[in-house]
């Protein structure tokens, strides 16, 4: 039996995409790692005191400073002459990474720490009750961007953190999705083998926050990629080096399967919004050459 480094008994919802992300990351990294997790669903479900799901050294930082804590761990290993013993990985949610932790992350990337920062992107603040983050996609209804008479939900586009990370000129930036597990494992292996700061963003659907049955977590993740709404690629020093090409499906196939986009199909004027979301997918396809 292969050893599970992320133990069962954790409190993730049945069908939790973030838990799948954690398992895949550890399959890629192996046991010689030190993990830093900021506050968020993955941290909460994996460390109900006095238990831990982690079978590797794991530190809970604050919500905002995982990248700073990971930087410190890396420097400590270096100064103790023990750098060969473990790779340092931070695993944070989109709120922790793309909103409140972006300053700490930019500092970590800019100072050149040998750390792999991984964001599991479930596109909102799930742990505190589905509030929008800057990674929430256009048109999604959340508790702080609710769709209703005067709103079609989130009215700003998803912040492009992979591009911001790449702009630091770091050696490796990649996106991935839990729907393509071998790709996730491969990219984690690759990231930790490269010296310097690395950024990986893994799309991790959340059945509770997005509103779909827990059995469909992988199907929804696949549709995000197949519609072109979550492009999968790698980049080195700011240049895109590989892209996952797809036979593109219309965005409706992805959107209609989730409660957070339900209003787009029911409210007057929803069609115009669907068109705007299709335009986002088309622009991604053009930018990355996604179409097969």
């Amino acid at each position: 039996m292969q050893e599970e480094l992320f133990a069962p008994g954790h409190r993730g919802c049945a069908g939790c995409g973030a838990a799948i992300a954690a398992r895949l990351i550890l399959k890629g990294s192996g046991k010689d790692v030190i993990i830093v997790s900021p506050t968020g669903c993955l941290e909460v479900v994996s460390s109900p005191y006095p238990e831990s799901a982690w079978k590797v050294p794991w530190i809970h930082s604050l919500f905002e400073n995982a990248a700073a804590v990971a930087s410190g761990v890396e420097v400590a290993l270096k100064s103790l002459g023990r750098k060969d013993e473990a790779k340092v990985i931070a695993i944070g949610g989109d709120g922790a990474t793309i909103d409140i932790g972006i300053g700490a992350l930019s500092g970590m990337l800019e100072r050149g720490h040998d750390v792999t920062y991984i964001c599991y992107d479930n596109e909102a603040y799930m742990n505190t009750g589905i509030q929008r983050s800057s990674s929430t996609p256009y048109g999604a209804s959340t508790t702080t961007s609710p769709a209703g008479k005067v709103s079609f939900g989130e009215n700003r586009p998803k912040k492009n953190l992979p591009a911001i990370a790449a702009a630091h000129g770091i050696p490796y930036v990649a996106t991935a999705s839990i729907a393509y597990p071998k790709d996730v494992i491969k990219k984690v292996k690759k990231a930790i083998s490269i010296e310097g700061p690395k950024y990986l963003q893994i799309h991790a659907p959340c059945c509770t926050g997005w509103g779909f049955d827990g059995s469909k977590t992988i199907e929804i993740g696949r549709l995000a990629v197949e519609t072109g709404l979550f492009p999968i690629y790698e980049s080195t020093e700011g240049k895109v080096t590989s892209v996952k090409k797809v036979k593109r499906k219309p965005v409706e196939e992805y959107l209609k399967a989730q409660r957070r986009f339900k209003h787009l199909f029911e409210s007057e004027g929803g069609e115009g919004e669907l068109k705007k979301i299709q335009d986002i997918a088309d622009a991604n396809a053009k930018q990355f050459g996604l179409d097969l």
Binding site: P8, H10, A19, S52, T217
Partner: protein, 85 residues
């Protein structure tokens, strides 16, 4: 001043929490139909499907009954049945 070590937890100790009690539907693998591809095991959020010989088996102590394994099995070898039936 004497400093004590901060709060520490045993690695993997969430295992003491048997999440199998959360289940409404129970996945049953049809071993005859299973082709041993491992897809179910890769995707299970609980990591509770293990390889046994060349087939796969579910540890019901932890399976929450999400149904991902049944939904993703390429040969539909997993059926979800109402717990207790």
């Amino acid at each position: 001043m004497k400093l004590s070590i901060g709060a520490m937890a045993e690695p993997g100790s969430t295992r003491t929490n048997k999440t199998g009690s959360w289940r409404t539907f129970k996945p049953i693998i049809n071993v005859e139909a299973c082709i041993g591809c491992g897809t179910c095991s890769m995707f299970c959020p609980e990591g509770t499907i293990c390889k046994v010989a060349d087939k796969y088996a579910i540890d019901y102590d932890y399976c929450k009954g999400c149904g991902i394994c049944a939904h993703e099995c390429p040969v539909k070898a997993i059926e979800m049945v109402l717990e207790g039936e």
